[in-house]
């Protein structure tokens, strides 16, 4: 290593420190996605209850498509009751909540569903295809699909009651 080069060693910590310092700034939760405005990719999965879960069959309804996993703690744990509440509140107005469980074991996922008493439909994405189609980076992520089948919004991180209410009122 040349004389000049070795002085680069201390400089190497700068990006790490900058990244950590960035952590002090706010957390933007709502981000643009290239999928917003495009038709939602159709898929058919088998739900945990054994029935088929097909997105195409839900055309004409507002769909809240939520990607989750039982190991995603605390975000998914915070979010589950929020989703359940929204489903109970809005189901009569034509809203469907669909949970897609990814990178998970069936037992852990079932325990999660039971723990939160989730009554909306949930299906394991056992081959990870749906997650790839929707470009899911991590869990939880949620897509809001309008009645005409286009994706209108994407939310990254745990949903809150106010976020989900605002989105749904907009789409209904």
């Amino acid at each position: 290593m040349t004389r000049a080069m070795r002085w680069l060693v201390p400089l190497s910590v700068v990006p790490v420190l900058a990244l950590l310092a960035y952590g002090f700034t706010t957390n933007p939760r709502d981000i643009p996605s290239p999928l917003v405005g495009r038709p939602a990719a159709p898929f058919t999965l088998t739900g945990f209850d054994g029935g088929p879960v097909a997105l195409a069959a839900l055309r004409g309804k507002v769909v809240v498509l939520n990607f989750w996993a039982s190991w995603c703690n605390p975000s998914c744990y915070d979010e589950a009751p929020v989703l359940e509440r929204a489903w109970r509140t809005y189901r009569e107005r034509g809203v469907v909540v669909v949970g897609v469980d990814m990178q998970d074991t069936p037992e852990a996922a079932r325990a999660f569903i039971q723990r939160f008493g989730l009554t909306f439909v949930n299906a394991p994405d056992s081959q990870g295809k749906v997650a790839v189609e929707y470009g899911v980076y991590g869990v939880p992520e949620t897509f809001f699909v309008a009645r005409d089948g286009t994706i209108r919004a994407k939310h990254v991180g745990a949903l809150t009651d106010s976020v989900i209410r605002a989105r749904l009122e907009q789409l209904l």
Partner: protein, 652 residues
């Protein structure tokens, strides 16, 4: 009163630490012994003041002095005596006091032990120790003042976080902090070596015990943390790759790497630069861990409250890294290796590989921990990185480390001959293969479990081979067996202490493997009198009872657990309702066993006691993890025992 006295005293301690650090540095530079002596007095003064402040804080807790805000926030009239003591470090501000106290204690021990023995390095060591101490005193004075008056004085306090009402809370933070702060000493010696240009091997030999001690306490802190998580949090596990666990695990990994790579420097005069870098990294990671826990930058179950404290820690971390690395760059030429790697098949290369794997694991854990932040900074996306990532990447690394644990201590230095390899590894490999076959035959299906257990058997055999051979050699000289074995352990205490620590790690590995591979659980709702069965156990729900405790209401379920043989046991898991908490706290009940633990958590229940939801787990081999901790402790004690009639040569 207490608030003002305490705050004033801490300000004085801060001034003393700053003065002492400067005096020691100037004394070291100019060679004026009087200045260094004055710095020593400052160190003594800081220790005395911080000790008094700790006692003062404890007194405030014991006497329910709610005029101190920290006391009012973390205790109430119902908090039992024992937990009022542990509440002293139950939250952010108090934990920093404990930290600073340990650091001041270590500084004092450095003064006593090294005042005369390491004369060139000593002033700078003192300067660094007092400098770090000054930082913590600054934190205690500005962003996290522990002695702050609360007016008007409330009639009762808010109460301690109920999860901290546990005996583990006295040992876990104490051990962990002793480990964290302990690495300050080798770091101070490393900086002193860089500043003075005496980058030879003196600082390494001087700090060997310090490093082992710090490493041991960190290990203990991690294990007790696992135990606390297992028996208090009620999710049935002991490790979750939570950012805070990772924060403590990273310095453990680099510290482990350091413990091994110093042996190469002692023996072969290699890796000087690398060892300095490892110490700097380990110390920085302890700071990083504190930053992570206390800044709220990364979401974690352990995260303390947010505030300006994060900025302080990050600035200090930056300062430490930049200063240390600039010194390293400055001394670059002097740090060249004197020895060379002779062969790939040698102890040096086994240790090097061990370092590579440990560093890879550190990097993985670091990357996984800060990835949510990175992803947010780069793409504005907040994600959570879960256990699957950490497990998938780390399990192969850890298996590799297990394998090297068998190879490293036995393979020859420089170049291992075929004969050396045969002599040391023929039997262990044969035993390992046989064990693998047995594991498959008895129906162990998981490949990872087979591999891990096989490697464990292999490493245990290498230790046995070595011990048997060395004992035999002694027996040939006419000694009797107990004398031969005892003499061997005492005389080569460093080597056999190291083996015993390895054995402890193996036992931990068995526990981790078993619990990951074979634990089973079920969740079910039972009516009174109804039973459920799992893995040969029948659990019957006998009823619920509510009781009023000093600071909470407790609903206890009674369950009879039978497994066909032996008298049935009664388990009483409960839910505790604290007025200051929104959700109840689970109180787990369990029966520990060598083979398996029965672990019962009470979930929802009907108010009339007619039914209850339970989670029943049969966790396999978890107790081995705690037993491994005990073996590790004994091994460390043996390794630290005073060395006997040794002619300088270091034995690995």
């Amino acid at each position: 009163m207490i608030a003002e006295v305490g705050a004033g005293a801490l300000a004085v301690a801060l001034a003393l630490a700053v003065y002492g650090s400067a005096a020691a540095a100037v004394g070291g530079r100019t060679g004026r012994a009087a200045l260094v002596e004055s710095a020593q007095h400052a160190a003594l003064g800081v220790f005395a003041i911080v000790t008094s402040c700790l006692l003062l804080l404890a007194w405030a807790f014991l006497s329910f002095d709610f005029s101190v805000r920290y006391v009012a926030n973390n205790t109430n009239l119902g908090t039992p005596f024992y937990y009022r003591l542990t509440a002293v470090w139950g939250a952010l501000e108090g934990s920093i006091v404990l930290w600073a106290w340990m650091l001041s204690l270590y500084t004092l021990i450095v003064v006593v032990r090294h005042r005369t023995s390491a004369r060139d390095l000593y002033p700078w060591v003192l300067a660094v120790m007092l400098g770090v101490l000054a930082f913590f005193l600054l934190v205690m004075t500005v962003p996290a003042p522990v002695f702050q008056r609360l007016t008007p004085v409330p009639a009762d306090g808010r109460g301690l976080n109920p999860l901290l009402e546990d005996s583990g809370m006295i040992t876990h933070p104490v051990a962990l902090y002793l480990g964290f702060t302990g690495f300050t000493v080798p770091f101070a010696f490393a900086i002193a070596a860089l500043v003075t240009g005496r980058v030879g091997d003196a600082w390494i030999t001087t700090t060997r015990r310090w490093t082992i001690t710090a490493w041991y306490f960190l290990s203990l802190g991690l294990l007790i943390g696992g135990w606390w998580s297992y028996h208090v949090l009620g999710w049935g596990g002991y490790w979750a790759w939570d950012p805070v666990e990772n924060a403590a695990f990273m310095p453990w990994l680099t510290g482990t790497a350091f413990l091994h790579s110093v042996m190469i420097q002692e023996r072969r005069r290699m890796l000087r630069l690398w060892n300095l870098a490892l110490v700097i990294m380990t110390f920085s990671l302890t700071l990083f861990g504190t930053f992570l826990t206390r800044s709220g930058v990364i979401a974690s179950v352990h995260a303390f409250t947010q505030g300006s404290i994060g900025v302080f820690f990050l600035s200090f971390l930056g300062l430490v890294l930049v200063v240390a690395l600039v010194l390293l760059a400055w001394r670059w030429e002097a740090l060249g290796a004197q020895g060379e790697l002779d062969s790939v098949v040698s102890r040096e290369s086994a240790f090097l590989l061990n370092n590579v794997l440990l560093l890879a694991a550190t990097f993985t854990v670091f990357f996984g921990t800060v990835f949510p932040l990175l992803s947010e900074a780069m793409r504005g996306v907040k994600v959570s990185v879960g256990a699957p990532f950490f497990n998938q990447v780390n399990v192969p690394l850890f298996l590799g480390l297990l394998f090297l644990m068998g190879i490293g201590p036995l393979i020859a230095w420089r170049r291992a001959s075929l004969d050396n390899l045969k002599r040391n590894f023929l039997w262990p490999i044969a035993v390992g293969i046989a064990a693998a076959a047995v594991f498959r035959l008895v129906g162990v299906r998981s490949m990872i479990a087979v591999l891990s257990l096989t490697l464990t058997v292999f490493v245990a055999s290498t230790i046995t081979v070595d011990l048997v051979r060395a004992t035999r050699a002694r027996l040939r000289t006419g000694e009797r067996l107990p004398g031969a074995l005892g003499g061997l352990l005492l005389r080569h205490n460093r080597r056999y202490g190291g083996f015993a620590v390895h054995l402890g790690i193996l036992v931990v590995a068995i526990g981790v493997t078993g619990s990951q591979a074979w634990s089973v659980q079920t969740e079910t709702t039972l009516r009174r009198g109804e039973s459920t069965a799992l893995a040969g156990y029948r659990v019957r729900f006998d009823g619920l009872a509510a009781s009023e405790e000093s600071n909470h209401v407790k609903v206890t379920g009674t369950f009879t657990v039978a497994n066909g043989h032996g008298a049935p046991a009664v388990l009483q898991p409960a839910k505790k309702f604290y007025p200051q908490e929104q959700s109840p706290i689970a109180y787990v009940d369990y029966r520990l066993g060598l083979r398996e633990d029965v672990y019962l958590v009470l979930g929802d229940f009907a108010r009339d006691g007619s039914q209850a939801t339970i989670r029943l787990q049969v966790n396999r081999l978890v107790s081995w993890i705690w037993i491994g901790g005990i073996i590790l402790t004994l091994g460390t004690l043996l390794a630290l025992a005073p060395e006997r009639q040794r002619a300088g040569a270091a034995v690995a």
